[in-house]
Symmetry: C2
Amino acid sequence: MAYLDKIQNPEDLKKLSITQLKEVASEIRTVMLDKISKVGGHVGPNFGIVETAIALHYVFESPKDKIVWDVSHQSIPHKLLTGRLDLFKNFHIQDGCSPFTNITESPHDHFNVGHTSTSVSLACGIAYARDFRKQNYKVIAVLGDGSLSGGEALEGLNIAGYLKSNFILLINDNEFSIDPNAGGLYGNLQALRTSNGQSPVNLFKAFGFEYYYVKDGNDVQQVIDALNIAKDIQKPVVIHVHNKKGKGLPYAEQHTELWHYRVSPFDPVTGETADLNKNDSDSTIDFILANPDVVAVVPGTPLFGRTLQQKCPERYIDVGIAEQSAVAVASGLAASGVKAYICAASSFIQRAYDQIMQDWTMNNTPATLLVFGGGIYTSDYSHVSMYDIAMLSNIPNLVYLSPTCDAEYKMMLEFSKKAQFPIAIRVCQDDESEIDKRKIPPLEYQLNTVKQPKSLLKNTTAVYPNISFMLKPEIYQQGHDIVIVGLGKFFKKAVNVARIVKEKFGCEVTVINPRSITNVNFLFLSGALAIKSDWQLLVTIEDGIVDGGFGQKFFAHYASQKERVVLNFGAKKEYTDFIPYDALMERYNLDDNSIANTIIERFKKL
Amino acid sequence: MAYLDKIQNPEDLKKLSITQLKEVASEIRTVMLDKISKVGGHVGPNFGIVETAIALHYVFESPKDKIVWDVSHQSIPHKLLTGRLDLFKNFHIQDGCSPFTNITESPHDHFNVGHTSTSVSLACGIAYARDFRKQNYKVIAVLGDGSLSGGEALEGLNIAGYLKSNFILLINDNEFSIDPNAGGLYGNLQALRTSNGQSPVNLFKAFGFEYYYVKDGNDVQQVIDALNIAKDIQKPVVIHVHNKKGKGLPYAEQHTELWHYRVSPFDPVTGETADLNKNDSDSTIDFILANPDVVAVVPGTPLFGRTLQQKCPERYIDVGIAEQSAVAVASGLAASGVKAYICAASSFIQRAYDQIMQDWTMNNTPATLLVFGGGIYTSDYSHVSMYDIAMLSNIPNLVYLSPTCDAEYKMMLEFSKKAQFPIAIRVCQDDESEIDKRKIPPLEYQLNTVKQPKSLLKNTTAVYPNISFMLKPEIYQQGHDIVIVGLGKFFKKAVNVARIVKEKFGCEVTVINPRSITNVNFLFLSGALAIKSDWQLLVTIEDGIVDGGFGQKFFAHYASQKERVVLNFGAKKEYTDFIPYDALMERYNLDDNSIANTIIERFKKL
């Protein structure tokens, strides 16, 4: 490479000519393609934003000037320009750099970021601090068009619009919506594009920004020119940069949605890859397809959008990145007699905590939330997905079910269809273990009438559910000495642990699949367990944090009985960043042998 | 009254002439003034929206057509037009109607609503359901200008902007911001007002809406005319109605901010009232005023805005209703070396759950969150404030302190100023009890170095805090038999319960003020308690829900010891609506004598 490997920091970039900057762009694409085609990663966003990143570092003085990257999965060109070329050689793997901005990786990164729509408000905080401390530097937030629909980003536009000092919002417009009839703000972005930025209706001006349009953001000179204008303006300015997503890769330019992210390696020339041909049919899709009265509401994460969008577009509502509104829309549908299924990832649904309470469960509307990907995984800090249990199970009126395998998940989907109250299901589609092939008992539940508390007001008592729901746990096996409750995916772990404990120490173990995180039928359980009443040690194992989670609640009332000793297994309350799965299991004392040994040691002391 | 008491439902309204409708407006104001001046309530919003409510019910056919009220504290005129005149006679008190919309109160109310910015997305859900079921009715969302800044409302504008069917968004514009230099979207609302709706820059058109402006929303004819135009349009339409907040009450028209809400009764003619003269100085204000390096970030709830805004405007950042961004802005300030204090109510801060994790604690920035009003209170369902403990204490990296009185709160404010990590404080400013006059011990804490887990990546370990913080609990008294831990405001309850238990049963009781909900120094506690090692019964009492709360965590590790029996006292996980405080205490078995009796009964069986 003629240039890139000599750029140790952005200062080195400033010495180059425009022609040389174009060479740098080409070298960045070569380096990215070489690595991402081998290990996967965000293709479209990073290839589209190369010239923008170069222009930003050419015009501004990072890290004195602060560039805040939204979502930050498009920050690779920025990383390559700020001394992380070597680190990127190990991108995504052992001893490499993070695919996200990370404050400990470089002084050019100002926040750890992985969720969308946060950059404007975070950058506003920096701008307030600068003004308060009477300092003198520029603040730039870089926001992708897809992230613009999120509530926090739009709140941020309003707050930034009040500033009386330098604040630059760079909109990286990848033509998120290419439907010529698109409404919403994407219709306005399109109008701005087709009018070369001249459309009098202008979202950004409406929020109080000055506005400049860059027709071809992949022409580095155009971006530099616009940034040079914006740089010294002492009020909020939007630079609307029209980029080509996947720029430089014909297959990615053509199929922008498919090439947003690649899990598997691909052929760098042809784009040929295994994961584009995989069949994305599964129990969730099958269920929605089979039930013409059911509507899916998806907040911008195309988990299985393609199939549904093709096969039943009238029942597939993608609200864009807008988790709060996804929950409200589903509740509105349910209130109007349409069964709505919110499909969201564990890591993202927490963006709708207030709406889950206020818009949904407080109104007791019979929508269903399918929580995907909940559990302990090797992920970056921003996508840690083990908080959904502690969050959702402490919300009133919400039944949170946790199947152990695909067959049980299907049962629960069928059940949710008829239920007249709010339900969440922690999706588990495992069906590979021998344990999954057991005969899953049907869902047995009780609906009891609840006595209403007396309000000061007339007529408002039915705000409380009229019924309480109690689901019978599955008693997989019964033994004298120990009871192990394995939640969801970790039910199999409980079965294994029971086997090890028996083999090693001869204890007789009861193993329970609670089936539900909330609303367990404890009356049944206590009765069933009383048959073998000499058990003393109670154990819970869950695929989530212990604090505020399932286990602490599950045996809370047994803790008031002298004869019971309780051990709760699960993760520690912390943010982890790309910790290998085995290391996480070891760290949390969660591998089967560790759990078994801890149980045996405790049992010995009883 | 000539008209209002004959209006049993909106049909009756449709028979009246415009002149008669004006009479109805006048009667509504008389009825509202008579009642609200006696019992308090939302003055400005309800007096401003009278003609709008009349026009809505005159033009549309509620409940077939669905009118969704945002925040719904401005729904009194709507209630008076939908058969609730008698119920309103007992407004806010025994056997009266709710100040909010309530699905069990009337078929004209479609949701239980109390938080802002929800109406657009909820109404979108209804519109989707209507279109899916091929029904034919109108959907109207009514949104106040103050609520427009909230992320969920702005997300909703974008989603509604995509609809291809009837959807009417009525903006009730009360001139939320009257600063002629206002930026943000309020600058655009002002531009639309001054241009009689003709400004080419138009926020609503930018989101894809058709747009109509009503210059004088307190002229019922003007609103009717606009709604008649909008009624049959098969795409999203905004009717921007310019209303006078507090219309009809000279004092409320003049001082719109002061007259948004009145707690106390007031003189209906002069507006003379006790609570406008009260001194709003307190420990929080004193602390911020005394520390010129500290900045307050307030999400639209003027808890103590007036004083700070007057005395240190450069250190008072009101981001409007935008809790998500308030947290992000504070984190940005803290990341830039400015100590930021987010001041928010328990019920509202949950709107920023994801930002508390992603933007703040995951970045480990040393901002502080002051949580006001957390605890069990007589409130409507939407302002139930007993969830903050279960929410915040299960978030990594966040230390959640809980003072028992004003003196301890002041100590914690001083501590937070110097701390280099995220802190939340559950504000408690009580100082009236004898117990509050005890000598509060200084805050004693340990900062231990934490071993970093090994990431797959280079350089990212410091994402985890380098230190762990452990705060020493206060041991108020020591006794042999029972340990009672009383959290925050309920510490006094614990002391009282201990006294009753001793008086009634002769037990010796240890009473502990944990001082912190998280990060309790258990090493110290176990050591201290071991001095009197024959205690067997552990009791926690907290002013919040038991599930996922403080108590279940506090004694979780003691539950693994055979000799300990644990009782957790707190509220049930449910939404309550205007339940009297005593009834709540009784319902949750939380009055002092009930707790004492439960403890004694359990102790007898040990």
